[in-house]
Amino acid sequence: MKSRTLVRHVKEGGKNLIRNGWMTFASISAVTVMLLVVGAFLLLIMNVNHFATSLEEDVEVRVFIDLIATEENQDELYSQIESIEGVDSIQFVPKDEGLDSLIASLGEQGDIFETLRDENPLNDVFVVQAENPAETEILANEIVDLPYVDTVEYGRDIFEQLFAATDFVRNVGLALILGLMFTAMFLIANTIKLTIIARKREIQIMKLVGATNGFIRWPFFVEGLLLGVLGAIIPIVILSYSYRSFYGSMGEQTGLDFFTFLTPNPILMQMTGLLLAIGAFVGVWGSMMSVRKFLKI
């Protein structure tokens, strides 16, 4: 296609948008409402994801090694754990280090434990991370049966419940987003179809003078794109503003110290990009669907 033809198509698409006044308004409103909800869910899902990831990083199995284990025994245990499927990493924490962090975590009161330095009662520990955090329990059960393992520790039920909850939010959010996208797509397709019926004769004439389907489709493509992008503007502005003021008033605090809200940057940028993309996709798709059956002449 020559560039002057592209310019023509863009102009035509814009003209159609203006010419269809109320229909354009109706389509843009449909996209706006859809993207407001979709955008809100996107922000929620991104935060939940962030929550889940920070949670997942915390999920580890602490393997307390039997006090009687010699260094060779420990090496043997290490390679046994290593050979278990699904193990991501193993970190050795000698008992001295364990004591250090215990003392540090207790602050001033911790100083009394300094006296234990010589006869350290703590175990040496392997900190094992699972490739898939959801399989931490299975991993722990396998490790506990190995020789020279005293006990294993890991966050049990609480994590499982949280995983289930975050998965639920993610799935419901995605289903909702998809459902809304299709609804908006059909709304747009229908409004544009109404405007096309009025232009049916026009399309027929274009085809009779030798216009290709592509030539006829292009202005509709532009029109759909503009509808989608224009419909995305209000949701982007509202959601960005709301999230910023929400974040400003809450700070990162959520009440749970291992969970923080995502900072407005970069997720608002990501949301803006996604809403523009979804709006454009929905607009173009709806427009293309409605023009299709008028091209058969």
């Binding site: 020559k2 026009e202 004439i205 009779l208």
Partner: protein
């Protein structure tokens, strides 16, 4: 130029509109297609610019078989022919100039070429001074002249017309015929379906009479042959 071989057309509702037509039309010919209402003239015409696809048979135009071409090639075929309709089929939102220019925009001609050529054909049809008018601002005869200008603007080798004077008064009809004869004299093949007895009997050309979807008469310099 145009050749139909054993062409049949059955509409989806079962009507047999064209029943085994064989015809050869040479380059530069002027052909009238006559016959009673419902005889199949419009169907015959529509087959030529592939608005309808033949149920059976071959239609060769400029070396291409319209019965076999792919959907995608139809626009390319149409660019090599001009079509004129009884109801003009102008785009109401475009000016006279834009209506004609549109047929050139479709084939991505340059602005300069379009301007030169459009003014040229508007001169041929005598509408140079109404280029900025809109279809609703000009008379029926003038609208038909615009549609002729649009049909010839890309220098087609064939001009196909379905009752081009059907909606026009006698004087205006003669004007249109003069323009068409002019175009024919420049070498363009013309096929024209018509009910206009006077025109056919005055401007003598080849006459093809269709009845019941068959060619019942084919005469060089023939006459209309029906009462009305």
């Amino acid at each position: 130029m145009i050749s139909m071989k054993e062409v049949w057309k059955k509409y989806p509702n079962g009507v047999m509109a064209v029943n085994g037509i064989d015809i050869e039309i040479e380059k530069g010919e002027f052909v009238y297609v006559v016959g009673p209402s419902g005889a199949g003239k419009s169907t015959f015409i529509k087959l030529m610019y592939r608005e309808e696809k033949p149920t059976r048979g071959d239609i060769l135009i400029g070396g291409k078989n319209l019965a076999k071409i792919k959907e995608r090639q139809i626009p390319l075929i149409r660019r090599n022919m001009g079509v004129i309709f009884q109801d003009f089929k102008l785009l109401p939102s475009l000016s006279v100039y834009e209506n004609v220019a549109f047929a050139m925009e479709v084939i991505e001609e340059s602005k300069a070429n379009i301007r030169r050529r459009v003014m040229n054909v508007l001169e041929i049809v005598g509408l140079k001074n109404k280029a900025r008018f809109y279809p609703h601002e000009i008379s029926g005869g003038e609208q038909q002249r615009v549609s002729i200008a649009r049909a010839i603007v890309n220098n087609p080798s064939v001009l196909i017309a379905d009752e081009p004077t059907g909606n026009l008064d006698p004087d205006t009809s003669w004007e249109i015929m003069n323009i068409l004869e002019d175009i024919n004299n420049r070498g363009t093949t013309i096929v024209m379906a018509t009910h206009n007895k006077e025109i056919v009997n005055t401007i003598r050309k080849r006459v093809i009479a269709i009845e019941g979807g068959r060619i019942v008469r084919d005469e060089a310099k023939g006459d209309y042959g029906y009462e009305k």
